[in-house]
Symmetry: none
Subunit: 255 residues, 2 copies
DNA sequence: CGATGTTCCGTATCGTTGATACCATCGAAG
DNA sequence: CTTCGATGGTATCAACGATACGGAACATCG
């Protein structure tokens, strides 16, 4: 029945389905639908949940490499690809007019935050993961809806990648920022979004043990401590500042 | 009649109106509506056009200063403000499920491109205006819809400005790139969504004297805080860690 | 084996909504 | 006064969401 509903949804031009048509396509009466989903909104909610399920499943299937930033980019691109491959369901999933708001987006936030946490562990995340997730997802959905609903207006083949890199650049702290030489990438080959980085940037920290994360915190703590010592004016009091410096030295020593 | 329709639209929870209710509110029969707008989609289209009209009118009312980049930022903020002030109409205007697609968005593109051309004349635009307009508008709509439809998930009061600056940074070539004014605004106070625009946005840029070194402390503190949050294992105790994070946030906020 | 209850399905139906046919009223021209 | 076009309203149709009611199949129990 969900299949039939999705087909009819994709076929219809106004992204709406009638319970009669769905039931007739499956070969049952309307009460069956109402017994199963309780409501038309229930049917649509189930459809949305099914869409989110596929979305999450797909996202989980994306292999996680040792480069969390590359995974982040792949996640963005996969989001766009999902939207373009399932336009009807995507429109429904992110439609501003939803009676029942699904809880799946929180799962999405969780997945995205997980990747972002990996970035944070690598020391390239400049702000808390939840905030970065909000920025990334809102922009991602905006671009997806734009190219989905008005491809005539949003016709730049590099729209997605450029907004992606822009938002990422604001959240991450990459050594060699890609920095957008717009138009170098062949517009005709959008499939390959291009290895802007690649060569295992943080490999030099190298030690494959669990110490890697702690080793990344150290330099940052040392740097901050040095800055604080050089800059006496601080919103903190003297005693607090002393204690903070002590802790930073502790973190810098790597425990 | 448009007023009545808009009121009913704002009142209804599913962003839909019935022709009967609208006509009854005005005091006429349904045929009047169908003679005027021809269709329910026509009524909604007129409503959307009316919304775009106000939007454009508002945008034209924004004074143009000698700083096109500031005007660009004001335009973004005004877009968000319009969305928050007219949620129902905005949802309709940018709803993915629209039968009749209005031509007003092209006017919006024109206005935005005009400001961008001014940026280009000032020598700060890094790419053709139409491409920049696509990036800016798609992200702008995405953020607006996000904070409009799911304020519970997109609760960061700095979401709009941060995405704005990120996208702008990718399109423009500013001498002093703001580069992360995103202080960690207290996550514990999500209730106040308002006024994301901008009372003297980057006032801190006024580098007057030795403060320049202090300006670098913020980002480093934010980064270290993010790393610490992502990496629970720490040589510090829980209470110490909490206090340390609080101080780091304080330093990150620059206050 | 028969009675009873539960579950499921389908037909028929209700209330609402979008959309329209048809008639009434009114003002202007002849 | 008559005629005609225009405008507004009543009644109505078709489709839709939603539900009440009855019947069939199956299981359970006496």
């Amino acid at each position: 029945m969900l299949r039939a509903a999705e087909q009819q949804l994709a076929a219809s031009d106004d992204n709406d389905v009638s319970t009669r048509a769905v039931c007739e396509a499956v070969g049952v009466g309307q009460p069956a639908l109402y017994r199963i989903f309780g409501d038309k909104a229930g049917l649509l909610a189930a459809l949305v949940d099914h869409g989110f399920e596929r979305y999450v499943e797909r996202k989980r299937a994306l292999e996680t490499t040792e480069d969390p930033v590359a995974d982040l980019r792949a996640g963005w691109d996969d989001h766009i690809a999902f939207a373009l491959e399932n336009p009807a369901v995507y429109r429904l999933m992110f439609s501003p007019t939803l009676t029942r708001r699904p809880e799946a987006p929180e799962t999405i936030f969780g997945l995205l935050s997980a990747t972002l946490e990996r970035c944070a562990r690598a020391g390239v995340l400049r702000l808390p993961a939840p905030l970065a997730a909000q920025r990334i997802l809102s922009a991602n959905v905006g671009v997806a809806l734009a190219v989905l609903v008005r491809p005539d207006l949003y016709s730049d083949p590099q729209l997605s990648t450029s907004v992606r890199d822009a938002v990422f650049a604001a959240c991450l702290d990459e050594p060699g920022s890609p920095d957008e030489p717009a138009g170098l990438d062949e517009p005709g080959s959008p499939g390959e979004q291009g290895r802007l980085d690649g060569q295992g940037r943080f490999r030099e920290q190298g030690r494959s043990g669990p110490e890697t994360a702690g080793a990344d915190i150290g330099p940052v703590a040392i740097r901050l401590a040095a800055q604080l010592r050089a800059e006496p004016s601080s919103p903190l009091g003297d005693e607090e500042q002393q204690l903070l410096l002590k802790w930073l030295d502790l973190l810098g020593a790597g425990a």
